[in-house]
Amino acid sequence: MMEMIKVNNLRKEFITYEKQPGLKGMIKSFFNAKKIIKTAVNDVSFHINEGEIVGYIGPNGAGKSTTIKMLTGILTPTSGEIFVNGLIPYKSRTINAKNIGVVFGQRSQLWWDLPLNESFTVLKEIYQVNDADFKERMDFFNQIFGLQEFIKQPVRQLSLGQRMKADIAASLLHNPKIIFFDEPTIGLDVIAKEKIRQTIKEINKKFKTTIILTTHDLSDIEELCNRIILIDKGKLIYDGDVDNIKERYGSKKQVKFTLKTEEDFFKVDVINEFSHVDPKINIKFEDNTLSVIFNKQLLGIKDITAYILNKLDVVDINIEEVSLESIIKEIYKDGLI
C-alpha cells in the first residue's frame, strides 16, 4: 500500500510578544517585550495510506488547523518532517497544491466577487483541467449538488449551504489525490450534511482519494472514518480504529435532570444504586442540574429516570449523547486507551 502522508516529529511554535495593559505597559513592552512561545503542534507523527479516510479531531485550539496548514504548505513547520505524496509541502508549495484539494468550512477559498461559473473557469485554467474532464466533473457536481441553481451568482451572495457545496465541488475539480476537509459540515442542515457525507464517500470509493477530515461532529466521523487521530494541546493522544473508541466511549449517554431545589440532590445516591451494574457510572451537579453519565449497553435510560422520578420533583429532563469534546477530555484525563 502506498503511503500518501508521512509526518514525523512535527512541531510548530508561534512567537508572540506579551502586551501589558495601559500606556506605561505599552511603552515598557515596546522596549522590553517578553517573548511568549506557544507550541501549537508538539511532536506529532503519523502515516496515512492511499485511500484512507482519517478523522483528525480534537477540541478547539488543539492544533488541528495548524497541522492541516502545514500539510498544505501554508505554514512552515518549526521542526520535524512532512511528506505529502513524496513532496515537502512548504518547499514545493505550488506543485503540492496540484495534488491536494482543501475545504475550510469557516472560510471560502473561492473568489468573493466572481460568479460561481467564472470561478470554475478560473480553476479549470489554474489546475489545467482538460475540456472533457471539466465537462464530466461539472455534470457530476450538478447532479449531486444542483449547482446550476446558483451558478450565475457571485460567491458572496450564496447561502452557507450553497457556498459549502461550491467549495467542495471546487476542491474536487482537479481530482486531487488528497483532500483536506476542515469542518465541511459546520452550520449545515441535516439534509445538506448527508449529501456532503455521501459525496465524500463516493469520491473516496471511485478515485481512491485519501481524505483527512477535521470536524466537531461525531456523526461525521462515525459515518465516514475508519481511523481517527486525536490531538489535544498540540499532542497526539490517540491514533487508531474508530470502533475502539466507540466501544469504549460512544455507548455513553447522558441524562440531565433539572431539580426543583438544591437540597433534592442529597436525597438520591445514583452511584450507590447503580454502580454494581455500571461500575463507571458518573454524576455531575451544577446549576440545579444533575447529570448522570452511563453506559447505555449496561443500563437503561428507563432505570435511571424511574429511580430519580420516584424520589424527586423534576422540572425538566434532557437526554444527550456524550459529546466528542467530552470524550476527548476523558481520554486526555485518563491517558491512552
Partner: protein, 264 residues
Amino acid sequence: MRYLKIYSIFLKQYLKGLLEYRIDFLIGMFAFLLDQSLGIFFLSVIFQHIDLLAGFSFQEIVLMYGLSQIPKGIDHLFFDNIWLLPRVIRQGDLDRYLLRPINSLYHFLIVRFQPDAFGEIILGIILTSYGISHIPGLALMDYITFILALMLFMLIGTFIFTGLKLMTASLSFWLTNAYPVMQITYNLNQFARYPVIIFPKFIRLLMTYIIPFAFVAYYPVLFIKGEESFISILGELLLITSLFMSMGVSLWNKGIKNYNSTGS
C-alpha cells in the same frame, strides 16, 4: 499563457461590473477631475505673477504634473490590491493565495482591478498633451520621439510605485500593521508633481536617491528640455525599478515563509 488567460477572466468580470455601476464610476471620475483641476487652477494663478518657477514655465510644470499622474494611475489600476495586504495578512486571508498551484504574488495581484484609476490616467494624458504641445520649436519627428520616450519612462516608472508599495506592504509579515509605513512613503509621490529643485536639499536627496519619485516626472521633463540624456534617465529608471521590484518580491517570498495565518 495560462497566467494571461486567468487574468483575462478576472479583467472581463471587472469590466462587466464597471458597466453595471457606470454612474458611480462616472461620478467618481468627475469628482477626481474637479479636485485635480483646482490644483491646476492655483498653478495658473501663481503663474500670472511669475514667468518661471525655478526655471520652468507654466506649460512645463503642467507637463510635469501630467506625467506624475500617469504611472501612478497605471499602478493604481493594476496593483491596487497591495494596499490591502496588511489586512489580508492580519486576518489570515492570505491562505487562499497559497493554496493554488500558481505564483502566490501573481494570484494576489490579479484579483483586484481599480477602475477609479482611469481618472488619474485620463487627467495625466490631458495635461501631458497640453504641456507637450506648448513646447516651442518642435518638429513633428521631435514630438514622436518625445512621446515614445515618455511612454517608455511612464511604463517603467509605474514600477517605482508598485515596487515601493510591495516592499512596504510585505513588512506586514513581520509587523502588526505596516499600513502607516506604506502610506508615508507612498505619499511622498506628491512631491513628484513639482520640480524637486524648489524643495529643501533633504527632500531633493530623498526624492532622487532614496524614494526616487523624481524620476517619474521631473527628470523626464529635464530630458525634454534637453538638460538630461535619454540613456541616463532610462538607465537610472531601470536600475531603480529593478532594485525596488526585486526587493519587493524577495521580501514577499521571505514573508510567505514567515506567514503565521490565524487560529482556525
